[in-house]
């Protein structure tokens, strides 16, 4: 049979942005696949060198528009560690709460769009409905729905937190997740599309530096929240699955949302019981330390590093992001080889790639 070269993307309904997949097809069968990235490169790293720390802070959320808080945290944490800024415990809890809410919002969006990739139209509207409640809360607190600019050096911008709303939102979402599971998890068509499809072996996952839920779905216990000091006093389980296929990635994300809700409830309890609310942070950097630092955060799409190199000027000398999606995208080349055309979307969608995060 003749081979056909098909360009999926950059403008394709289900590449979630501008990924281009150069696929060689033999009928329905994928012979090889070459992912092509870089269509959304905004120069986030180079921009950091031209802007002062304060100026760069609002841009950090734009590294990944679905989980802005995580990158904001990584950057703030790097600057704080370098300049020895103390963060009050209260602010740490607020940060954890916000980040976990953001993780739920991000996973909800993934769930909706993934099912849309598989051809089911309704779940997208259901998950967006719940995501909306979280975004509304974020808007209430930070004034923005996506680009929050809420974490600042030494804490958070302000401490007005409508905690009762959070409990209401989280309980509602916990209830709705069960509904999603009713409609999706045991659906035979969904199982036939995801079980045994796109299997990542343990070795391959480690070789390609996959992190986050994708790695945990391969049966490797790796969650950097274990090592982060802000999670020290918080109890949570790490969700793992052993198969490494699309279905286990789905299961891991579903249970992670529940785990996040559990974490949020702990944070709200702590914040409510804490009577002494500190003043919001008003730190102006004027005495810049020299040195380099790696700060990390467990983002919804995997481990994210922020490497910051300062020579004592008002701008970073060098700033480097390590994002989870970038590594997942590179894996596509091996993962898609030998699958069928319809499986491309099932596999690619299950990795939860967000293109702005890949290109930065």
């Amino acid at each position: 049979m003749d081979k056909m070269i098909l360009n999926l993307g950059p403008q394709h309904p289900s590449t979630h942005g501008v990924l281009r997949l150069q696929v060689v097809l033999e009928g329905e069968h994928v012979v090889s696949c070459e992912p092509d990235i870089g269509y959304l490169h905004r120069g986030m790293e180079k921009l950091a060198e031209a802007k002062s720390y304060i100026q760069y802070l609002p841009m950090v959320d734009r590294v990944d528009y679905l989980s802005g808080f995580f990158y904001s945290y990584a950057f703030c944490n790097a600057v704080e560690c370098l300049n020895h800024i103390e963060v009050p415990q209260y602010a740490n809890y607020v940060r954890v709460m916000m980040m976990e809410l953001n993780r739920i919002a991000s996973h909800l969006l993934w769930l909706g769009t993934y099912l849309l990739d598989l051809g089911a139209i309704s779940p997208m509207f259901y998950t967006f409905r719940e995501r909306e409640t979280i975004l509304d809360y974020f808007e209430k607190i930070t004034g923005q729905r996506m680009m929050y600019n809420y974490f600042v050096f030494g804490g958070v911008r302000h401490n007005i937190l409508y905690l009762d709303n959070v409990i209401k939102i989280v309980n509602n979402i916990l209830f709705k997740i069960n509904e999603y599971e009713n409609i999706i998890t045991d659906n035979p068509i969904f199982l036939s599309r995801t079980k045994g499809i796109g299997i990542i072996s343990k070795k391959k996952a480690l070789d390609w530096a996959i992190t986050g839920p994708n790695l945990r779905a391969c049966g490797i216990l790796s969650d950097y929240r274990m090592n982060m000091h802000i999670y020290d006093d918080i109890e949570f389980d790490i969700v793992m699955s052993n198969e490494g296929d699309c279905y286990s990635r789905y299961i891991v994300r579903i249970y992670e949302m529940r785990e996040s809700a559990f974490i949020i409830k702990q944070c709200v309890d702590w914040l409510k019981s804490n009577k002494k609310i500190p003043e919001p942070s008003q730190i102006f950097l004027n005495n810049f330390q020299k040195g380099e630092i790696y700060s990390y955060v467990e983002a919804p799409r995997g481990l994210s590093f922020c490497y910051l190199n300062s020579v004592g000027e008002s701008t970073p000398y060098r700033l480097k992001w390590r994002t989870g999606s970038y590594y997942s995208t590179q894996l596509l080349k091996e993962l898609l080889k030998g699958c069928s055309l319809a499986d491309i979307m099932a596999i690619y969608g299950s990795l939860d790639v967000v293109l702005p995060e890949v290109d930065r």
Partner: protein
């Protein structure tokens, strides 16, 4: 049709019109009627689906144009008809234009075969169901040609998927229809309906109903078997390159086919235009007056469309719920499970007849 013809000729005599022209007119008028009915139904049907999908997914659906969004699809249709006629620079322009026209025309013929009530049946052939089978294979063939002629890779993939699917769903459909012919001893659609006066065929052939229902979803190219236009993989499948009027032809044709296929299901299994329990509402409320005779025809049409809409609703429900099959699982499903099941069903039905 004879009753209608008599009434029509009586009417012509009263206004002193030429009888010869009237006879010619009588063979044209029903087609015009059907065409108008088709366009209106399709426009209504698109709105119906969008509204229902809207309520399934916590939205209101179209609600801006006209009262309750009732003119939304009309506005869309007018927009499509007014659009520029884009010709493709490479590929077969003749086939590209021809395919939507023939695909749509074939569906109009399907609409003419259907008996809408005891009188109004334009093509009342003794092999009506065979004509239906043959003509209904035309749209899929021209979907293939549309994809082939537009010289687009997505279209080509959509086209060959459509062909593979056609081969797999045709066998269950034909074998189920065979089992119905076995039960009723006739291929005339009107007679098949009249056979069900005492008992609908669904009660004696429930397995056949399920098989036919699933296969017709595949035939209609709808979720979960909408492989040939899977928008998450193939953008739009075979009509990726189409726009304007020609796209509208495909789009309207798709919904017209949905309607006529569901009519066929209700004729074959649910008693067509016969009312449930065989009692006409007109008779209940008005007794046996002379007006009733006319009212009953309308009521028969009402029951036919009511049953059809119920089936369409269930198909939309399925679309709102299920993800899409892949090519491989679809072919597996049809060839490995549904086709053997159909043959077993046919054998059982045949033995029951003996």
């Amino acid at each position: 049709m004879n009753f209608l013809l008599c009434k029509f000729l009586e009417f012509i005599k009263t206004i002193n019109f030429s009888e010869h022209i009237a006879l010619v007119l009588f063979s044209i008028l029903p087609f015009a009627l059907i065409l108008g009915f088709l366009i209106l139904t399709v426009i209504g049907l698109v709105l119906f689906e969008r509204k229902i999908l809207g309520y399934f997914t916590q939205r209101k659906g179209p609600n801006r144009v006209g009262f309750w969004g009732i003119l939304q699809t009309t506005a869309d249709a007018v927009k499509l008809l007014c659009k520029e006629n884009i010709e493709i620079s490479s590929g077969d322009n003749f086939l590209f234009t021809l395919s939507p026209i023939i695909a749509f025309a074939a569906i109009i013929i399907l609409w003419c075969i259907i008996p809408y009530n005891a009188e109004f049946n334009m093509i009342n052939s003794s092999v009506g169901i065979l004509i239906y089978l043959i003509v209904s294979s035309f749209p899929m063939l021209f979907h293939f040609l549309a994809g082939y002629s537009s010289n687009n890779k997505y279209s080509i993939i959509g086209s060959y998927r459509a062909l593979a699917l056609t081969a797999s769903y045709s066998v269950p459909i034909i074998f189920t229809i065979l089992s119905i012919i076995c039960i009723t001893n006739t291929m005339n659609l009107n007679n098949i309906i009249l056979f069900q006066t005492k008992k609908w065929i669904i009660f004696s052939n429930i397995l056949g109903f399920v098989i036919f229902y699933i296969s017709s979803i595949a035939k209609l190219n709808r979720c979960p078997f909408d492989l040939s236009e899977a928008e998450s993989e193939l953008v739009c499948g075979y009509h990726t390159e189409y726009s304007g009027m020609r796209f509208a032809m495909f789009f309207l044709g798709e919904y017209a086919e949905l309607f006529v296929m569901c009519i066929l299901i209700s004729i074959l299994f649910l008693g067509g235009y016969l009312p449930p329990f065989n009692v006409y509402l007109a008779n209940i409320f008005m007794g046996n007056c002379s007006l009733c005779r006319y009212l009953i025809y309308f009521e028969q049409t009402f029951w036919l469309i009511f049953k059809t809409l119920l089936i369409i609703f269930s198909i939309i429900w399925i679309r709102a719920t299920l993800p899409r099959f892949t090519q491989k699982t679809t072919l597996d499903f049809f060839w490995k499970y549904l086709t053997p099941l159909t043959i077993i069903n046919l054998i059982i039905i045949t033995f029951m007849r003996i």
